[in-house]
């Protein structure tokens, strides 16, 4: 039987506010345990939450970026459950009237095609603390620094049909929240976390199959792997005559499998009700317009502009626009050198390669966009050739010189374009290589093209890499063919 996979994602994004969603405690990452958990976060008697304006603004900005309806009135509810890292006994969330209504995100797939994924809604809520299960004399340690950190939970419609689409969706969300600057998007530190709902159904069937929810899927790669495993598990189960149980499963990246989390517990019953400590949040049009005016150019718009106005390929435009830092770096390089294609090649090739090797982000690139742009300009105006350009790049990377011009001057890399000088070098090489010349002369005409490489190499060597390779090629061919 042919099976179809149906996937929906719930993405939790930690909002990059300075203080918590309902208290004035700091949200900074990595502080000593419980030094950033105030009376409100601890749920001590008599405290009252007060909503953080910035958290509201960030949620709205996300909503606007995904073309969603922003709720004029949104309401906070209490989701009741007992767990030691939730000292109040409830999580303040938005169940019935979320701040962000239906919207959509466009994802780009590897083959360059795109697909629209609908967003069901996004709501504001507070994060819980952390349980540390290392052994404290048979007890569990609780750190409440994270309790009350604002989260935006973004719930998609079940619009994805395979693991690649799910990963592309997660990347699109990551790209939007980091462009907006509403989250650092750091998955390793838990700033962005993802639960995946997966089900399978016979191809052609309209009704959804029973879904399993996979938790703890905290990297783009894990999303693909967890889905791949889970789909196979469900299909095998059904084909063997069993049926999928609606349950929560945990992804274990070390063993590359999903495991049932808790089966003994009765179905969760969160008994949501409107939080009496918080009033309805009312947003007026002027406020929304103000926030809309502050939106930066978003990844999808940048991608389109890079493709349509700058002539980049769909692939290049997609890769470069995915991160705001990279897109802005590229644009600065482009404005310096004026050639979008070259700027894209250098940013994605030499620069990205060097950054990856040293695990640096583009924001911390040792080479500035101005330096790289200037370097490309020197290639474009024939001051240096491609080989020398790489040498200049390396020198700038290592901090040996302030500008491309300075390095070119200091290392004597200026390209030799003087025909007379190149001819002299060619004559010398031909005179020094009688055997190769004879070979060239005696070989089939169609093989000579390849053989010329030897002579080009010798001339380039003689010029210490500074001769213009196109000129060398042309002149060499003339001179060698004259000998036939």
């Amino acid at each position: 039987m042919q099976w179809e996979t149906v996937i929906g994602l719930e993405v939790h994004v930690q909002l990059a506010t300075r203080s918590k969603i309902f208290s004035g405690a700091s949200t900074a990452f990595g502080a000593e345990p419980n030094t950033q958990a105030c009376a409100v976060d601890l749920g001590l008697p008599g405290v009252l939450p007060v909503l953080n304006e910035q958290a509201v603004a960030m949620a709205v900005q996300f909503g606007l970026a995904v073309h969603a309806d922003i709720a004029e009135v949104s309401v906070f509810d209490r989701k009741n459950y007992f767990y030691p890292d939730l000292p109040k006994g409830y999580q303040t969330s938005q169940m019935y009237h979320p701040i962000v209504g239906p919207g959509d995100v466009e994802i780009t797939l590897e083959d360059g095609s795109s697909k629209r994924i609908r967003i069901h809604h996004a709501h504001l809520e507070e994060d819980a603390g952390k349980s540390l299960h290392e052994d404290f004399h048979g007890m569990t340690g609780i750190d409440l620094n994270r309790a009350g950190t604002p989260l935006l939970e973004i719930v998609s419609e079940p619009d994805m049909r395979n693991a690649k689409e799910a990963a592309a969706y997660l990347k699109a969300i990551h790209s939007i929240v980091t462009y907006l600057g509403i989250s650092d998007g750091n998955m390793a530190e838990g700033s962005m976390r993802c639960d995946v709902n997966v089900s399978v159904r016979p191809k052609g069937q309209e009704a959804f199959g029973t879904r399993a929810e996979i938790k703890n899927v905290n990297s783009f790669r894990f999303v693909e792997r967890a889905i791949a495993f889970e789909v196979e598990r469900q299909i095998e189960l059904i084909e063997d005559g069993g049926s999928v149980v609606q349950e929560t499963r945990l992804f274990d990246p070390d063993r590359d499998e999903t495991r049932s989390m808790r089966t003994k517990e009765e179905a969760n019953d969160y008994r949501y009700f409107p939080c009496p400590d918080l009033l309805p949040v009312v947003l007026d049009q002027a406020y929304l317009d103000h926030l809309r005016g502050q939106l930066p150019e978003l990844p999808a718009d940048k991608r389109e502009r890079f493709q349509n106005e700058l002539g980049l390929s769909a692939y290049d435009a997609n890769v470069i626009s995915a991160s705001r830092d990279m897109a802005e770096f590229f644009e600065a390089v482009h404005s310096e050198c004026g050639d979008a294609k070259q700027a894209a090649n250098w940013v994605q090739g030499e620069l990205s390669g060097a950054l990856n090797r040293e695990s640096l982000s583009i924001a911390n690139s040792p080479i500035s966009a101005r330096q790289l742009g200037e370097l490309i300009s020197r290639v474009l105006d024939n001051t240096i050739n491609g080989k020398a350009a790489k040498e200049v790049f390396q020198a700038l990377w290592n901090g040996q010189g302030e500008s491309a011009d300075e390095v070119i001057e200091a290392k004597g890399l200026k390209q030799v374009t003087d025909t007379g000088a190149i001819e002299a070098m060619i004559n010398q090489v031909i005179a020094d290589s009688p055997a190769q010349v004879a070979q060239y002369r005696d070989s089939e005409p169609e093989k000579r093209g390849k053989m010329i490489g030897y002579f080009v190499g010798q001339v380039m060597k003689a010029s210490r890499g500074t001769a213009n390779p196109q000129q060398v090629n042309g002149l060499l061919k003339e001179k060698l063919d004259a000998l036939l």
Binding site: P33, L51, T140, P276, L279, V281
Partner: protein, 95 residues
Amino acid sequence: MALEESHVRRAAHLARLAVSDDQASGFVDDLSRILDMVDQLQSLDTEGVMPLAHPLDATQRLRADEVTETNQRETFQRCAPAVENGLYLVPRVVE
């Protein structure tokens, strides 16, 4: 709506309340009467009436995103039954 004792037991469990057998049967009566009142309210025609999220006719005030709290861990942990390395200790939670 007539409640059964199992409903009371379940509600008590969800709220982590210890309820004795004697108390449970009493709660069945008390809670059933409260639910009867709710039933009475539900017989009203509420077509076109916005659900009320809060009895006060006011909207939420927002605060500026500023860190105003200082570290008071020592004070707060003085009333905790067990702490270690700055962590609150609780009976082991097994996932």
